[in-house]
Symmetry: C2
Subunit: 356 residues, 2 copies
DNA sequence: TTGAAAGCGCTAACAC
DNA sequence: GTGTTAGCGCTTTCAA
């Protein structure tokens, strides 16, 4: 007569006519040579009959499971974040850490996940701006975002990469560009905008901009008036021969708009993107873009986090240090290089875009 | 003098000069009105000073956390699986279940994850062939795979969709096709191959095939000799005017090969894919493909799983049923429709491919 | 308003 | 070989 509660090892023991610790031995596989064959079989049978499964919580409480770090990303369908996750997971496993994934945009929800699981540390990727260190007392490293406080962070060195993009176009002979920005308010996109602006200014290049949500259709819609000469900014509309996009997805939208308007790429218009997704290689011509090594971002962040945890262990083991010594370089901000990949979508400017 | 072990609520109690249960009250937020302000502050201060964090395992052992289901996918970077995960997660949350992700290809590793966490059920997507029900006693539903035993499964109704593809090409006037298969041995790809073969046979269409790993470069390499007329099969090489691909990624490879050979799409060659990834919309011309609604797959599977769990609960609560009643429709295999999306990459055949 | 005490289900010494 | 026992860190009556 099973009750509403799942069976415990006691129940199994009773049914098998053995003691509870024998059940424990059998289920841990530590029964080799210590528990008789008959007994073992009896235990297993009783367990099956009852549908018994060892309670992992109780086991972990007793024995202490592997340490866990939670990885938070805003969107796992986006392959970039999936790569970050993969990289982080790899690094964690190497060090014997388990990882749990939390797909959340806001800190609140991440904090809830942290409380719910037995989490030892948090790796938070591309969180929305304005996040404080979520919970104190939980070591954390943020990825691709403004480090909230004295916390560690790993980010791309994105500004030089976008400077390279502009420079590349400039050297090809482009003298005016349009910048299609992603309508996302995170640090990385702000940095991209600033870098493009600065690079254009430094080279005396004409510059207009538009912005769009991070999907192809929105980008297409935003690009259409721009390419058709409807740009409204301080610069004369139409006075650009290249579009610099904040993301490859936006670049695809520009391809579509250009196609709709009968503008050839790269003959009539050069286009660049950021974040070397498969998209960049799939389109024709292949897209000149900036490679953002997501896996490496995840790996590097996880390694920092693990190092921090292990330092904390040592500290405790070795007795207390003076306060000033704590946190050594925990607040440091590592920058990962982002590399420009030149492909077929950029070329010397042909005829400037006709105003329509 | 902190030891190597993390502080417990007892430590906090001692430092704050209160009892352990008071600490517990404060940390559960159940202190409102029951614990004095001064006491509360003292507890919080002591906790901060010690770096105390409640032990989630102990808490769950006592109070029983939300139930968890583990979702296993072979590759989270593949957006299809990411969508499956997302759909499953959504459905789980609606019912108050937590989800944990396990990225593994083989059953062994999944089983390890199941044992490590307190998992109540498993949703396994696209596992390699030959998997038995991983652990008995853990309810499981498999997605997009041969149901191992009497277990539930949810899969796409892929055969009719590929029949539609062939039929579509046939109606356009194509009389011979090449089938570019994915070099992956799972049930879904076997079904695709069989469906294409059968559909061609039924219509008396010429058919050759090749196979390739699931990436663009491999597909391109595989498509090149095929398009150049080097196909080796029972059918005369070159006697096709369309390529049916097992996956959109493969189709992109075919685009590249066609481009390299100066073959226009769809003028000189029609191409189709499967699995409506962003890729299909990004390429030019847009790819005729079969939409595989991954989110729906995940949602449906999770709903089945949750229903099964809740049925089990009821059963236990209401006393034991006779054995024959168990499992009602647990072994049923649901099929989700997969829809053909016709886009620009298919058209009536122009000149047949020249043999080179 | 706070404290004492009894477990949650399991593991790991240690006894028999 | 198998059983006894004492906790793991927390929640939760029940007293004070």
């Amino acid at each position: 007569m099973p009750t509403g509660k799942p069976p415990t090892s006691h129940d199994v023991a009773r049914l098998a006519g053995v003691s509870q610790s024998t059940v424990s031995l059998v289920f841990r596989g530590a029964a080799g040579g210590r528990v008789g064959q008959r007994t073992q079989r009896a235990v297993l049978d009783a367990a099956r009959q009852l549908g018994f499964r060892p309670n992992a919580d109780a086991r972990r409480l007793r024995v202490g499971g592997p340490r866990m770090v939670l990885i938070a990303v805003p969107d796992i369908v986006n392959p970039f974040f999936a790569r970050v996750f993969t990289g982080a997971r790899t690094a964690a496993r190497e060090r014997g850490f388990q990882v749990v994934l939390s797909v959340q945009r806001d800190l609140e929800s991440v904090a809830a996940d942290v409380a719910g699981q037995q989490v030892d540390a948090v790796l938070a990727c591309s969180l929305d701006d304005g996040g404080r260190p979520l919970d104190d007392a939980v070591p954390a490293v943020v990825l691709d975002a403004e480090p909230p406080e004295g916390q560690g962070s790993v980010r791309f060195d994105i500004a030089p990469a976008l400077t390279d993009v502009v420079d590349h176009l400039h050297r090809l002979g482009h003298r005016g560009i349009a910048h299609l920005r992603a309508d996302v308010r995170t640090a990385t996109f702000r940095e991209r905008a600033e870098a493009v602006d600065a690079a254009c200014a430094a080279r005396g290049m004409n510059r207009v901009h538009a912005s769009s949500a991070l999907d192809v259709d929105a980008a297409r819609a935003a690009a259409l008036p721009l390419l058709a000469g409807g740009g409204s900014g301080p610069c004369a509309p139409g006075a650009f021969t290249a579009v610099v996009c904040d993301d490859d997805v936006l670049a695809v939208g520009v391809y579509k708009a250009a196609q709709a308007l009968g503008i050839a790429i790269p003959g009539g218009l050069s286009v660049t993107g950021v974040d070397d997704v498969d998209l960049a290689m799939a389109v024709t011509p292949e897209l000149t873009t900036v490679d953002l090594p997501g896996e490496e971002l995840g790996e590097t962040g996880m390694r920092r986090l693990v190092a921090e945890l292990e330092r904390a262990d040592d500290e405790q083991a070795g007795g207390e240090r003076v306060g000033a010594d704590r946190g050594s370089d925990a607040g440091a901000c590592v920058r990962l290089p982002a590399q420009l990949l030149i492909r077929g979508s950029t070329a010397r400017p042909g005829t400037p875009l006709p105003l329509r």
